[in-house]
Subunit: 399 residues, 2 copies
């Protein structure tokens, strides 16, 4: 068979492998040290009771001939869950129709698979640093990847260069890895740029639930004009601890169209539905029951307690960095803190320093792009006790 | 943005839409008639108790901080489930290593997404008739699709033409839609052909659990040489009624390699892992618990009762067609019966005839390829009572 040659253009995905290797070596050499893990972006709190109960009810229905569910008709999710997602959107002022919502097994799948609908010669504009999936999936598809720089100067919130042309634009806000959040004014500039370029914005809103300032946009559809130029991917992974449950949703507005080479106007939603119709068969029914329970009054109350727990950890980290006078972004509306490595260290040097001197495992910024070379990602996904201990250790290490 | 132009090359996917339209029109005109649905290939029996219990236990673990599971490390499935799958394979004499098994959300995803690893200019050889996903996903990827004819003459078990070259070959046995099963000798010819062509066989074994003759192969890996030229996709959808639960597995042997343009040898499993690492994040933990329970002694006993229930329905259909002297394939080791339309009718004419005269909804063979023009698919996924009534109605209609 012929192999897709684009795979050889991918950078070796060694970030978390290299981290695991260095951690293992350290643990072997220092068996008595208890390390504090603030690296990988995975939640630590269990699924809330309202969700557990709803899922068990869904499982029971699958065992009863009267309520058993086979294939979903559409494969895009049950209406009861789409209705719950639409109501959630409405709670921050965004109206989406049920047929614009697609339930999936987590944001990564759609965020990666969306490249299937892009045409040959697509130019993808991606912020640097960024979640590696955006870059890697475009390279696999043979697309051209160009970058918009997120830097200390712009608060790690890259803005478009009007002289640069792109077909597709990937934005993530609150950002992984930098935790920075675009304002409505900033997103409006991106939307205008996309329309100027006939480009589509792939908006990753996986961390929107961490936004506590109501003036900051939680959805790109809060921005005028976005419905004709943007797709939004969201997930319950960080919102409700679904990293092991697997459920998310994608919103494709019905107004969003593109032109074929022959000049026909096609709805992006129709092309995507056709793609999914051949490559996806919907989300497990009990998982959809669990997801719908997240958006009930009780579910929202319970998940907000978990989010507040993580936000408190983020504040502990932020306060420490403020006290140390270290520049950082994130932490306020995001579970991620993106800090400048102290003493001019590069991110891998600081990784080793932090591991050895503070017994903390974090993620070197270099793993997210060249602008991360001197930056470092810490996560709020730990206990307050461990987070405090980590910050005490960091302070002592830098004395 | 630029749209993937290959989507315009797809045939309109109107089969089930057209069926729904005609059924609705009939029901409106005949409100008193109770139709018997034997069209769509979806199971009707609920999930067995052993699986329900295991899944609820898995859900409870997600609600407990001591047993909560976040992201899976590999995203390819938990070892406990891979072990269960490996033991199941061993039960019919096939040895697969745990790192050759990938747990997924159903066979359709991997069967469709596998095109991502194929190179430019790939020629895909697909039997006609076939499950439309094989054809459509290759067209979306811009590949060339050629066909191997399954006909009445070869018992709807297409064999390779040594003069035809292909890079990838799609085989499904027991076949959807024809129910025909390849013998070991026939599969050996395909394996030899694939090796001769340096081609890879994508083997869809989604219906293997319906095979009751131990001399018929349930896995392509029962065939000598297949480990260097085949990938196998399997699913719990029909095996254990998981159409709404969503779990399947793909086996990629470690020996399976391909050459890049520059002559390097790469393992297909590594390319696929790289693809999945960017576009998939594993299967819901409770669903994996449910899947593992299928392969326990109790689970297997319970699912076999359901399979026997469907097999009995298939026998009712087969016996009727035998009595009527109508040619068909399938039904013995498959939930599908592929019958020749009587009186020279084409498949859509017979659809209307069956609907009107026997009150039965089936699937016109034309929806699966040109060789289905005069054939028709019936499924065993109904109650014995309905199946008997449908066959009585058919007999009366043909009197």
């Amino acid at each position: 068979m012929k192999i897709n040659e684009n795979f050889s253009r991918l950078e070796k995905n060694y970030l978390f492998i290299e981290i695991a290797k260095r951690v293992k070596a350290y643990e072997t050499a220092h068996p008595d040290v208890s390390l504090i893990r603030m690296g990988i972006g995975d939640v630590t709190r269990p699924i809330v009771p309202a969700v557990i109960e709803a899922m068990k009810k869904g499982v029971d229905e699958m065992g009863d001939p009267k309520t058993f569910k086979g294939y979903e008709d559409s494969g895009t999710g049950y209406d009861f869950l789409k209705q719950a997602v639409a109501s959630y959107y409405q709670s921050f002022g965004v109206t989406v129709a049920l047929d614009e919502i697609r339930i999936n097994d987590g944001a990564k799948s759609d965020t990666g698979n969306i490249v299937d609908v892009f045409g040959k010669g697509t130019v993808a504009l991606i912020t640097d640093p960024a979640y590696p999936v955006y870059v890697d999936t475009n390279i696999m598809a043979g697309n051209t990847v160009i970058y918009a720089d997120s830097t200390e100067e712009n608060g790690f919130a890259a803005m478009p260069d009007p002289n640069v042309r792109a077909d597709v634009i990937y934005l993530c806000s609150p950002n992984n890895p930098t935790g920075s959040v675009y304002t409505k004014e900033q997103l409006k500039i991106w939307v205008d740029y996309a329309k100027e370029n006939d480009a589509v914005i792939i908006f990753d809103a996986a961390y929107e639930a961490f936004i506590s300032d109501p003036t900051l946009p939680r959805s790109i559809f809060e921005i005028e004009g976005a419905r004709t130029c943007a797709v939004e991917m969201c997930s319950l992974s960080k919102t409700a601890g679904f990293t092991g449950m697997r459920c998310g949703y994608t919103v494709i507005p019905n107004e969003l169209t593109a032109k074929t080479e022959s000049g026909d106007t096609v709805r992006l939603s129709e092309i995507w539905n056709r793609r999914q119709g051949s490559k996806f068969n919907g989300v497990s029914y009990p998982v959809q029951c669990a997801a719908a329970a997240v958006f009930t009054e009780e579910g929202l109350k319970q998940i907000r307690e978990n989010i507040a727990y993580y936000q408190n950890n983020a504040k502990i980290i932020g306060d420490t960095l403020d006290a140390l006078g270290i520049f950082y972004t994130g932490g306020k509306h995001s579970p991620y803190i993106w800090m400048k490595c102290p003493r001019g260290m590069d991110s891998w040097t600081f990784f080793d320093f932090l591991l050895d001197q503070a017994h903390v495992v974090g993620t070197p910024g270099a793993g997210f792009g060249k602008n991360g070379t001197h930056f470092f990602r810490l996560t709020a996904f730990n206990t307050p006790e461990n987070t405090k201990r980590a910050m005490e250790n960091l302070k002592n290490a830098l004395k």
